[in-house]
């Protein structure tokens, strides 16, 4: 634990944090623009070239808006909930490897903030902590629609976490490691999407459900629940929930890339660039889904999670285990 290690870690934390904070406005812009064109509209175009500065203007507006706290709200928890959402999303990003080792000033620096040997469990654990932000936000508002949204979300996230975790076990069995960097290193010749295609599909579906994105955005279904758990949140607290949602999209995409899509591996271009290209493709996919699919009904959502995804992920795990045991 020398000074150089501390400095390198601090710089990496700043890079990841800064990247996410800068990237989120542009992802929101991309989402509005893409959905706009998919629906035969043109999307934002007034602020800046191609409307690029629209989200930044929105962010500044939210920053200066009055912060309204409902009279009957639990003030401490109301304050804590949006922060928890953002913290858990950022903490999960700390174990994601976004490139191979690089040499800076004669020292080898691995391109992830923390290399823990239980990285996958760490990501699953922190994302499962993310549910607190939503549940508590709904509860602390002391209002019926947010509470219903919060309860829905906790049921949804617990249900889909199971299948998500089990879908990753297949890859863990094949590689024998829980470290994301270790898994990426073993994908130099073949991405794990090839042998673990079903696991990837299950993981992605669960990931969308975990991030509360359409078509699984039941916790904030506006036709039934106003805006769900964040109905009562205004100003920067609302912006924090927004930030957390997009940061969580990045977490799910980054884990999917590391586990199934070869992480930073790719020809010609430098590793970090490959990682960013894959990340953008995933984020585009999220947006594409939202523009394409209508929202599920709540019973469909629960039945899909428990009766389809969970058995499929268990089947995939069993088959993988047998194959791994037979081939050595």
């Amino acid at each position: 634990m020398d000074a150089a290690f501390l400095i390198a870690s601090a710089v990496k934390v700043l890079i990841v944090l800064g990247f996410v904070l800068i990237a989120v406005p542009f992802i929101v812009w991309m989402e509005r623009k893409v959905i706009g064109h998919m629906q035969d509209r043109i999307g934002p175009q007034r602020v800046g070239p191609f409307g690029l500065l629209q989200t930044i203007a929105d962010g500044i507006k939210l920053f200066f808006k009055e912060d309204i706290i409902p009279g009957q709200a639990d003030r401490v928890v109301f304050f804590l909930a949006p922060a928890l959402s953002v913290i858990t999303a950022f903490v999960a990003l700390s174990v994601v490897p976004f490139g191979d080792k690089v040499t800076v000033f004669g020292r080898e620096v691995p391109l992830h903030i923390a290399d823990v040997n239980v990285a996958i469990l760490w990501v699953l654990g922190t994302t499962s902590m993310g549910v607190y932000g939503i549940v508590l936000g709904g509860w602390a508002s002391n209002s019926k629609y947010p509470l219903l949204g919060g309860l829905r979300s906790s049921a949804q996230m617990i249900s889909y976490e199971l299948a998500q975790g089990i879908s990753l076990v297949g890859v863990i069995l094949m590689t024998g490691t829980l470290s994301l960097a270790g898994i990426v290193r073993q994908q130099e010749h073949m991405w794990f999407i090839v042998p673990q295609f079903f696991a990837f599909v299950i993981f992605l579906l669960c990931g969308i459900a975990e991030t509360n994105r359409a078509p699984f955005d039941l916790p904030e279904a506006e036709t039934e629940l106003v805006a769900g758990f964040h109905t009562e949140f205004s100003s920067m607290k609302f912006a924090l929930y927004f930030l957390a949602e997009y940061a969580n999209m990045m977490v799910v995409s980054a884990v999917a890339i590391s586990v199934f899509f070869g992480g930073w591996h790719g020809p010609i271009l430098p590793p970090v660039v490959w990682f960013l290209i894959k990340l953008s493709l995933f984020l585009f996919f999220f947006v594409w889904l939202r523009a394409t699919f209508p929202r599920l009904r709540y019973d469909q959502l629960m039945a899909f999670g428990w009766k389809v995804l969970l058995p499929l992920s268990l089947l995939n795990l069993a088959v993988t285990a047998v194959v791994v045991a037979l081939t050595g």
């Binding site: 634990m1 639990d74 928890v77 823990v116 040997n117 239980v118 469990l121 760490w122 699953l124 654990g125 922190t126 499962s128 902590m129 549910v131 607190y132 549940v135 508590l136 509860w139 509470l147 919060g150 309860l151 906790s154 049921a155 996230m157 617990i158 976490e161 024998g176 829980l178």
Partner: protein, 170 residues
């Protein structure tokens, strides 16, 4: 040095959250304090070179079980209605069990000769100690029987819960 600071930090927060959990009136706040205790314990597990246990602690206890706790607390919306025990009896039970736990801990500490045995124990750790592969190996060789018994017990509990929930109360 760093370890000592971190240990102090985690243990202080664990104690503070435990006190909060016991003394808060609002059931949701109590549950949140319990989450704080679990997170502090997870930090201590990392200091004990048990990263796997620490991650599992967060994933299972803080991430899944406590969410269910919170879920139930919110659904039932308990606000101190019809407690099972009178406050005095509850306090008596609390002090009784706390005393027993204290005696047990004292027993363990004294029978080990305080903290004298600890440095050797740390030095004797194998290099892979606490890693997932090492835990898995031990779990499926040395402790296979207790492990399987535990899983069957859990299975029975799940089946029992489903049967109870499905039964029609006429």
């Amino acid at each position: 040095m760093v370890e000592a600071i971190l240990f102090t930090l985690f243990s202080l927060s664990a104690v503070a959250f435990s006190l909060g959990m016991v003394f808060r009136r609002n059931a949701v706040h109590c549950a949140l304090h319990l989450v704080g205790v679990l997170l502090s314990l997870s930090g201590m597990f990392v200091l004990l070179h048990a990263q796997f246990i620490a991650a599992i602690q967060i994933l299972v206890y803080a991430g899944a079980i406590m969410v269910l706790f919170l879920f139930v607390v919110m659904l039932l919306n308990v606000r101190g209605e019809s407690p099972l025990l009178t406050p005095g009896a509850a306090k008596g039970f609390g002090f009784f069990f706390a005393f027993i736990a204290f005696v047990e801990l004292l027993w363990i500490v004294l029978s080990r000769g305080g903290s004298e045995g600890l440095p050797e124990a740390v030095a004797a750790l194998s290099p892979g100690f606490g890693s997932p592969s090492e835990i898995g190996r031990i779990l499926y060789t040395t402790w296979l029987f207790p492990f399987e018994v535990t899983s069957i017990l859990l299975m029975i509990a799940v089946v029992g819960a489903v049967v109870l929930a499905k039964r029609k109360f006429a």
